[in-house]
């Protein structure tokens, strides 16, 4: 089906703002605000310690300091994400990681606030700490990080906290399908391996920051680099201040990237603003974002696969141990949902046990995905290993085992809209799969090719609501509560509205980033804004059109069902010459009456043409013992990625020579934006595969800055004809115009594709990310014995 604006790469609506420096981010808010204070947080220097005393008197006496807060000044409320409330705003008796907040200061300048932190004297008694999740999960682990875990509040997903095998395990998730013992008994080949993924950081360039002010009416306004205004910011601030959500207005303009990192500044700015009565701005340093953010959940994955000689996958058994760090935040959900990746292959017998374990490391979280790229690395290297051992082709074995439309996956869900096979064909063709790589550059450099698949479900138990207002001149204004984190939400949503009203993009206005003006939205998570907010908007458009047609029908002498709109006009479907401009609706029904001019911009009835719409996910029940259910996801996006690499066997350096991605996001609303997601995913994938890791030493991050933590620079990545992006759409019956989502899955296959290419080049398997020169040389030495 062809559309006038959907499916077209119209320019981004935020272009003029972003290329001229006019785009406002939360970091710009508050500058120049009279009386504004600056906040700073004091972090624990110990990985695990008891707090014996805190002396704030010297800090309080420092000129310019307005407030010093510790746990004594705030209610003893534990908060967290929706799953497990395990964290106080300020540590009360115990610090659990290097970086755990102990106190906060508000002062007239940032420098004074920083100086005051040095004057706070905290006496600690160091406790034994634990950093290895496999040690921490043992039932008899001598270090217990949350002795009161059993009494903590679990507002949702309570079953994830049942039947825990050790005192530091906070989440357990199971999937059971068929009988793996029988499956393995029938297998001709069984392959078992251990994979691991290190702690990495999202690396968004805008650091966590917020400005909070409290009005004389008690309304708390939070400006934040908000990812999920309602879901994360408003929810947490409401909990820690014990103020209803109706009193909290969250504002957020453009967000300088997020990638699942959430936000940590607003809660401290909020409590400082409440206690001082002044606006407070709080910006995390880059080091603070590293140590007190929510970096990607490290996972250890044991995987055992049984196949028939012809390549048919019979049984798969998976055990995952994830390192949650000192607190849980989103990790219960990350652990559960990350495992949905295994639904990509038809697996009659499947068993999975996943555990999330507390350690005395920084708190873990999501990064461009929800714990899925780590198991995908395992899954997609396994299938290459199986193919090689069976003498089968790596593309063919995947195509043979991929789940297809209408089949039941490992969780009992009937799958729909699966374009992954087409993605695979596209990248395999581009990289000339089956033909060997070109000659090595020198004798030390070896060249190889690899490919892999990836996927990402979208969370179903969420919702989005949106407004559409039709203005008198025919301009259609959409109001959404999702986030413009750079993905192009405003552009895509404006395209959907332009398509609905058959108006050019210039006639669509976007209002966002303010909970007073928009309706509830889950936020830009789970690759879901196009699907969820988009669906809500389609319904809001239909509602607005219904209102518009009801007003127009008597004037056009037609039934509302016979009306259509285009270019700011309303017309009768089969007699398009019978039309009136939208502005006519705003003229009172009794022209010539007194006061006509004053009424001229108002509708005669109904107030405004204001359409409202909601998308609400409708999950089925889930069997908590087996993880089985009929409807557990909103949709799956799929990718295939292929890499050609050169490896220097002398230094262990890997160069990416060529890279391709293909993606099934359903109907692409704006293909160029989809390409941008694939390219961004490629580079983030290359970085996390080859270089990126937070280097940890007994709970301390040794490289909490962009000099020592290496994100990919431009010189290291393929561009021009060396990088390719393809779209392979499998339309989704519930998506707006058949759209699904793109974003998270865009990096999921990069790591195994590169690992498979390195294997192809030098014959060594790298199962622990990142595949840095050290790992590669070590593996080469082991191979040579």
């Amino acid at each position: 089906m062809t559309y006038s604006i959907v499916g077209k790469s119209v320019p981004r609506v935020d272009g003029p703002d972003k290329v001229t420096g006019k785009a406002r981010f939360a970091t710009e808010e508050g500058i120049g605000l009279p009386g504004m204070l600056y906040g700073k947080v004091l972090h624990s220097p110990y990985a695990h310690a008891r707090i014996l005393s805190i002396d704030i008197t010297r800090a309080e006496r420092l000129p310019g300091v307005v407030k010093v807060l510790t746990s004594k000044d705030v209610p003893a409320i534990r908060v967290g994400a929706y799953f497990l409330h395990d964290r106080y705003l300020f540590c009360r008796h115990t610090v659990r990681f290097i970086g755990d907040p102990v106190a906060a200061v508000a002062a007239d300048t940032v420098e004074t606030a920083e100086e005051a932190l040095d004057l706070i004297k905290v006496e600690y008694e160091e406790l034994p700490a634990i950093f290895d999740p496999e040690e921490a999960m043992k039932p008899d682990c001598p270090v217990v990080i949350h002795p009161d875990l059993a009494s903590y509040d679990r507002p949702t997903y309570k079953y994830l906290g049942e039947d825990l095998p050790g005192p530091n395990v906070h989440t357990r998730f199971r999937i059971r399908k068929g009988n793996v013992a029988e499956g393995f008994a029938q297998a001709d080949l069984i392959v078992e391996n251990r994979y691991a993924a290190k702690r990495v950081v999202q690396g968004m360039l805008e650091p966590y920051n917020a400005v909070v002010s409290v009005g004389s009416d008690g309304i708390i306004t939070v400006w934040a680099c908000a990812h999920c205004m309602y879901n994360r910011i408003q929810y947490i601030v409401s909990k820690i201040l014990d103020v209803p959500r109706s009193r909290i207005r969250v504002r957020s303009a453009y967000v300088g990237g997020n990638f699942g990192s959430g936000e940590r500044a607003s809660r401290y700015a909020a409590v400082l603003a409440m206690k001082t009565g002044k606006p407070v701005k709080l910006v995390f340093t880059r080091e603070e974002v590293f140590i007190d953010g929510f970096n990607r959940l490290p996972q250890i994955i044991y995987i055992r696969d049984g196949v028939k000689r012809d390549g048919t996958l019979l049984a798969r058994e998976v055990r995952v141990i994830a390192n949650s760090g000192a607190y849980s935040d989103y990790t219960p959900l990350i652990l559960r949902n990350g495992m949905f990746c295994f639904s990509m292959y038809r697996t009659p017998n499947f068993k999975l046990d996943a555990y999330c374990v507390y350690t005395n490391e920084p708190t873990s979280g999501a990064m461009r995905g929800l714990g899925n790229e780590q198991p995908i690395n395992a899954m997609e290297q396994q299938i290459d290993i199986l193919a090689e051992k069976l003498g089968l082709d790596a593309v063919a074995i995947r195509q043979q085992n991929l789940i297809t439309e209408g089949e039941e996956d490992i969780r009992g869900e009937i799958t729909h809209s699966i374009g992954v096979g087409e993605c695979l064909d596209k990248v395999a063709h581009w990289i000339s799969w089956g033909e060997s790589s070109r000659e090595p550059i020198t004798s030390d450099w070896k060249v190889g090719k690899g490919l892999a698949l990836g996927n990402k479900y979208s969370q179903i138990d969420t919702a989005a609501a949106a407004y559409v207002k039709v203005h008198m001149d025919g301009t259609v204004e959409l109001r959404h509560g999702s986030d413009e984190v750079g993905q192009g939400a405003n552009t895509v949503l404006a395209q959907i509205v332009a398509e609905q009203f058959k108006v050019p993009m210039e006639k669509v206005r976007v209002t966002w980033g303010d909970t007073d003006l928009t309706a509830y939205d889950f936020g830009a998570g789970s690759s879901g804004t196009t699907f969820k907010t988009g669906n809500a908007l389609v319904r809001a458009c239909e509602d607005a059109k219904r209102q518009m047609f009801a007003l127009a029908a008597p004037r056009l002498g037609a039934d509302p069902a016979e009306l259509e709109t285009k270019d700011g006009k309303i017309y009768v479907k089969y007699f398009p010459e019978r039309e009136i401009p939208v502005s006519d609706l705003f003229i009172p029904s009794a022209p010539g009456a007194m006061g006509t001019l004053m009424l001229a911009t108002c509708l005669p009835q109904g107030g405004e043409i204001l359409g409202k719409g909601t998308w609400f996910g409708k999950p089925s029940t889930e069997n908590v013992a087996t993880g089985q259910g009929k409807k557990l996801t909103a949709f799956y996006g799929y990718t295939a990625q292929a890499a050609e690499v050169a490896v220097d066997t002398q230094t262990g350096i890997v160069k990416i020579l060529r890279f391709a991605s293909a993606f099934d996001m359903g109907q692409p609303i704006n293909p160029k934006l989809c390409e941008g997601q694939m390219e961004g995913g490629m580079v983030m994938g290359i970085g996390t595969a080859l270089w990126e890791q937070m280097i940890m030493d007994k709970g301390r991050v040794l490289n909490p800055n962009f000099l020592d933590y290496q994100m990919p620079p431009l010189s290291s990545i393929p561009s021009g004809e060396k990088a390719a992006s393809f779209i392979a759409s499998a339309l989704h019956q519930e998506g707006p115009y058949g759209a699904k989502g793109v974003g998270e899955a865009a990096m999921t296959a990069a790591t195994p594709a590169i690992a498979n290419a390195v294997y192809n080049a030098i014959g060594v398997r790298l199962m622990h990310t990142p595949f840095n020169p050290e790992e590669i040389l070590k593996a080469l030495q082991e191979k040579e014995g």
Partner: protein, 161 residues
């Protein structure tokens, strides 16, 4: 104690009073309201604070404000095309979708301008190397390279006409 600072910013003479420890990024943002100057890491590693000082792209987060005495500063707010509209680099960034979140974009555009002023014939490889000090976490850089190449060609054409 604050000291006087005289400089030219986006073509206008400015006199300011700044603390000796203030950096140029903070001064431009907070004293002159030039919010297109961003701070990403404050250690000179990410490049989002790049501005042009006397024709050279510098990291304003490491540049003491007082060192700007008598110098000529260009921020994104002062960048424009010959007709007063968008500069070819700005237009190319829009045309090629060469930004996403936009946080690194002002610095990326200014760094590319410094390069093309210095070397109007810059090759793809030279562009990639010159811009390597500016991190972008969203775009994957591919479209940034396309945009700079396109702007380079249009600027060459423009200077011939």
């Amino acid at each position: 104690m604050k000291q006087v600072l005289n400089l030219r910013v986006n073509g206008l003479h400015k006199q300011l009073y700044v603390e000796p420890y203030w950096t140029l990024d903070k001064t431009l943002r907070e004293e002159l309201g030039l919010m297109g100057v961003k701070t990403g890491c404050a250690t000179g590693a990410c490049g989002t604070c790049t501005v042009i000082v006397d024709g050279r792209a510098i990291r304003s987060c490491l540049f003491p404000a007082l060192r700007a005495e008598g110098r000529d500063i260009l921020t994104i707010e002062g960048l424009q095309g010959e007709d007063g509209g968008l500069h070819p680099l700005q237009q190319a960034f829009i045309d090629h979708f060469a930004f996403q979140c936009g946080y690194c974009t002002p610095a990326m555009i200014l760094t590319a301008k410094a390069l093309l002023d210095e070397n109007p014939e810059a090759t793809e490889q030279e562009i990639k190397e010159y811009l390597s000090g500016n991190l972008c976490r969203c775009t994957g850089y591919v479209k940034i390279v396309e945009a700079v190449l396109d702007a380079r060609d249009k600027m060459k054409q423009g200077s011939r006409e």
